[in-house]
């Protein structure tokens, strides 16, 4: 489903930043329905991997294939075709601040030209799944961190994507909410979606007992089925 072939990503220098090599000659493959965790220290290249998958960034060299499509050939204005197959979960939630919980989740469906009549039921169903059916009319600023993350998950799930990209989804949460989020991610994976998680949380990685790709300074140093956190 996703293939990285000798991918290198360099960020060119500018007035404020020095040149940085985020990934160096990275190769791996992720199959449909897998649960893969990328772990590593901050700056190891985890987020860059996710950005390359979602076409936010293009590789400096090498090839990133998404469903056999080379992401280098995808124009910025056509990247939505790939993103509509992906559900994003971010550490900082990335909710639209002036839209309610319901509207934030519905937005992802509206962007797909989804049938208006079914939209309300679909959104409420997903909000129930994440336990936020009673908070549908709240604005993001009225929610706790855990609730915001659940809205983010609901938004990622609403269009039943093939892949979930979760970038440090528990980074801002307490252990209680962290467990909740991990459980939801496992459920999503069991339902058939490919889940790609980026984290530096040892507890989560060890508890998952799924494939772990460990990155250090932009290189893959370990790729293990049922891996553990070891840095």
């Amino acid at each position: 489903m996703i293939q990285f072939k000798n991918v290198t990503k360099e960020y060119s220098p500018n007035l404020f930043k020095e040149a940085k090599v985020a990934l160096q000659n990275v190769s791996f493959e992720i199959k449909k329905g897998e649960f893969v965790t990328f772990c590593g220290r901050s700056g190891a290249g985890k987020t860059t991997v996710l950005k390359l998958i979602s076409c936010e960034e293009k590789p400096t060299s090498g090839t990133v294939l998404f469903d056999d499509m080379d992401t280098k050939d995808v124009k910025k204005s056509e990247a939505y075709l790939i993103r509509q197959k992906i559900g994003f979960i971010f550490q900082d939630y990335k909710l639209l601040s002036y839209k309610t919980v319901f509207e934030n989740v519905a937005y992802a469906l509206e962007a797909f030209d989804f049938n208006e009549k079914l939209l309300r039921d679909e959104v409420m169903q997903v909000l129930e799944l994440v336990g936020l059916e009673n908070r549908a009319n709240c604005l993001p600023k009225e929610l706790s961190g855990g609730e915001k993350q659940r809205v983010s998950i609901a938004r990622a799930l609403i269009h039943r994507p093939e892949i979930i990209l979760a970038d440090e989804p528990t980074g801002n949460l307490d252990p209680y909410h962290t467990r909740d989020i991990v459980k939801i991610l496992l459920k999503i994976n069991e339902a058939g979606a490919t889940v790609i998680l980026s984290t530096h949380d040892r507890e989560i990685v060890n508890a998952l007992e799924k494939r772990v790709i460990t990155l250090e300074n932009g290189r893959i140093i370990r790729d293990e089925e049922k891996g553990v956190f070891s840095l």
Partner: protein, 301 residues
């Protein structure tokens, strides 16, 4: 398509209503641009009024010898009226001239001097107004023709020539200044509005990024911003129209005195459709176009 437009309008309306401060700040700046645009329309109206006033003051007076028959003078008047440069020719009979003099000098020493004369000392004359101040020369040349020489006692253009020329230059300068000022201030209004909307959209660039990441097409992202810019402009145009109407109705007398007789309310009433169109165009148009260019930056390939 209708469904898409409905969603775009709904989303734009939500943004407009819920982003209170941002909406207010943007609408305020567009309001200033609309007021500036409307002010320029009134300025142009005022300049035209002033120019006409000045032009009306410029005339050439031809005094005929006292024995020239009225029909001959009216014939010359016909000849003058047929000239392209001539706007109006008034015949002033000796009686009219006498009456005008009496009205203007009632009770002063000139009247005493007039009383000593047993006959009407005034001679018949023609007062000529040209379409443009510069055309007085053509008319005075025309009057120098051989066939008129025997009838004419005096053409006063030589005495007033310099004044006429200066007034002509003044009206031209006022017009050029008016147009330059209009263009300059319009440019400033456009730049200010565009930059305000750019800043407003810049503050929402993260939201644009989120929309992209959840798989929205560029047109679906751009649409609500265009609607929001349009609504801000429309809101600004409506408010400025209301304020303008109220101010003109309440303060018209003072404004007329301030602007040397230019009746702003009458101008407003006579051009109300243009005022509405201008305000809508400046407000909603600027809002829409500026939003388009401001959001384009974040959606470019």
């Amino acid at each position: 398509m209708i469904n898409y437009l409905r969603k775009v309008f709904k989303s734009g309306w939500e943004g407009f209503m819920r982003q209170g401060f941002l909406t207010f700040a943007t609408a305020l700046v567009i309001f200033i641009a609309v007021v500036l645009g409307t002010g320029l329309l009134f300025f142009q109206g005022g300049v035209s009024y002033l120019t006409e006033q000045i032009k009306d003051k410029i005339d050439i007076s031809v005094t005929f010898k006292s024995d020239v028959p009225r029909d001959t003078i009216l014939g010359i008047r016909e000849d003058l009226t047929s000239l392209n440069q001539v706007k109006k020719v008034d015949y002033i009979s000796p009686e009219d001239a006498y009456n005008t003099f009496v009205e203007a000098h009632e009770g002063d020493e000139y009247m005493e001097a007039l009383g000593l004369l047993s006959v009407n000392p005034f001679m018949p004359s023609l007062r000529i107004q040209t379409k443009e101040p510069s055309q007085y020369k053509d008319v005075s040349e025309f009057l120098k023709k051989e066939e008129y020489a025997g009838y004419i006692s005096e053409v006063n253009d030589y005495k007033r020539g310099v004044t006429i020329e200066r007034l002509g230059e003044l009206t031209r300068s006022v017009q050029v200044l008016g147009i330059s000022l209009t263009l300059f201030l319009s440019l400033i209004a456009i730049i200010i509005t565009f930059n305000t909307l750019r800043l407003s959209i810049y503050s929402q660039k993260e939201e644009i990024e989120i929309m992209r990441l959840v798989g929205a097409k560029n047109s679906f992202i751009r649409g609500p911003f265009l609607v929001q810019g349009f609504l801000c402009g429309l809101f600004a145009a409506i408010i400025s129209f209301m304020i303008l109407t109220i101010v003109l109705f309440i303060f018209n007398k003072q404004l007329t005195t301030l602007f040397i007789g230019f009746d702003s309310l009458a101008f407003f009433k006579g051009n109300v459709l243009w005022v509405i169109l201008l305000q809508l165009f400046v407000g909603a148009g600027l809002g829409l176009i500026s939003s388009y260019f401001a959001v384009r930056k974040y959606l470019r390939d």
